[in-house]
Amino acid sequence: MQLRPIVFTAIVCFAAGLWVASFAGFREFLPGLLNGTVVTVQITLGGAALAVVAALVAAMGKMYGVGPLRWIAVAYIETFRGTSALVQLFWLFFVLPHFGVSLDPVPVAILALGLNVGAYGAEVVRGAVNAVPRGQWEATVALNMSRVLALRRIILPQAFVAMIPPWGNLFIELMKATSLVALISVSDLTFRARQMNDITFRTIEIFTIVLVIYLAISIIITVAMRTLERYAARGQGRGRRA
């Protein structure tokens, strides 16, 4: 990639950043928006943790589960992948109280988004485990290891590295989906933006800042994932030399 166009684009971005920062309202809007950002980040982190756990459990259930366990895993994955995140969010928000479960909006949001991304994550886990070469499984049989031991010490550690890039994408999707919680009146970044817009109608300024904040979070996620991948793959070359 040539240097000059990159520098050019970088200069344009920087200038745009300065222009955005010079918005009269920048100092006015920022504190409120940052409060909203905190909520957005909280939901993203909580949802991510739940998604990883749900994905692992569902993937193991689908691949190695017996009878009803397998059915539950498949049903979970198909339902949450096949319906819309917003529908799931609304359903949990409006319908759960009827079942006697009374939760604050933020936990409901973490639950809905975590389960949603977890369903997609289960397929990522499954794909990564299936991509571990068959020879690795055979070596564990030759060494008389049990299936659980083989999964725990040999297969999953190798699948882990392959999983990181797709999970990075899923975490970014999760972050984007947190904007939906504004529609159940959670005071996240999007909600604050809507609020301020309804009052001041300074749409361009507000939403530009908001978009830049979301972009910044997604860049942080991408960088974190790349670092994790480099750390996890240390020592392992990719491919074989004969």
Partner: protein, 266 residues
């Protein structure tokens, strides 16, 4: 075979008793009868598709058998004694008996996320229950024996193919098996690396009490090393004899054809 679990001295180490394997309509192994004596070194040769690799894989329980019984060290492997008769083995029995068998693969199958040492101590620690110190001492000794004492902390990606295969041999030996299986272990190596692996196998054969079963294309090595050579064709043993007899004076027409084709290519 009497329903008796204590091995007698004259019983074969491995016995294939009427073993058949099918893939759909295709019969890969047809009522195989094969006895392998204690400490015998047997080479299996034959064209591809003759079923030779399947023999090893079934013994290592990587494939199920459709008919017949496999016996290891006086005990049934694929079946177990129940109420005086033979029933298909459950997982516990299978794991107990297959602990006597080790295997080295054509593509090494080393664990890429562990060092050479790590590869060799994993199963002894987790399956045999050895302490960290014991497992490590054993692993270092074996890696030394295969000539990689100075590379114990290297990852597979940092080793040549020949070195990786030698680690694989050490890893299999660390479980102290009674039977070692070698599945075309030099076929994936660059020619100049084949010798170092064959040398390790040679040493193993002469210095250790091991029953060895190897599928190989290295005819010269088979001739010098094996006690017996089995030529497989279309799922059956077409001919088996001492190496001198097989290579020097083959009786079966197919054996002659195969040897001609192989030795021509050399």
């Amino acid at each position: 075979m009497t329903s008796n679990d204590t091995p007698a001295e004259d019983m074969p180490m491995v016995r294939f008793d009427g073993v058949t394997k099918r893939y759909g309509p295709l019969t890969v192994l047809d009522e195989l009868q094969l006895d392998i004596a204690r400490n015998e070194k047997v080479a299996i040769i034959g064209p591809s598709g003759s079923g030779k690799t399947t023999v090893l894989r079934m013994l290592m329980t990587l494939e199920r058998i459709d008919e017949g019984v496999i016996w290891v060290d006086g005990e049934p492997l694929t079946h177990m004694h129940r109420n005086g008769a033979l029933a298909p083995a459950d997982t516990a029995h299978l794991r107990r008996v297959r602990g006597k068998i080790g295997m080295v693969f054509q593509h090494f199958n080393l664990f890429p996320h562990m060092t050479a040492l790590g590869n060799c101590i994993e199963a002894p620690r987790r399956v045999l229950g050895l302490s960290a110190a014991e497992a490590e001492a054993r692993a270092v000794e074996l890696l030394d024996m295969v000539g990689l004492g100075d590379k114990v902390q290297h990852y597979p990606a940092q080793l040549s193919g020949g070195q990786q295969q030698r680690v694989a041999i050490a890893r299999a030996l660390a479980m102290r098996p009674k039977v070692m299986l070698f599945d075309e272990v030099t076929s994936a190596l660059d020619p100049e690396l084949v010798g170092e692996v064959l040398q390790v196998i040679r040493t193993l054969g002469s210095e250790h009490d091991l029953t060895m079963l190897m599928v190989t294309h290295q005819m010269g090595f088979a001739k010098e090393f094996a006690d017996r050579v089995c030529f497989f064709y279309a799922g059956k043993i077409a001919e088996q004899n001492t190496p001198d007899a097989i290579f020097g004076d083959p009786q079966n027409e197919r054996t002659k054809q195969f040897l001609r084709a192989v030795l021509d290519a050399v």
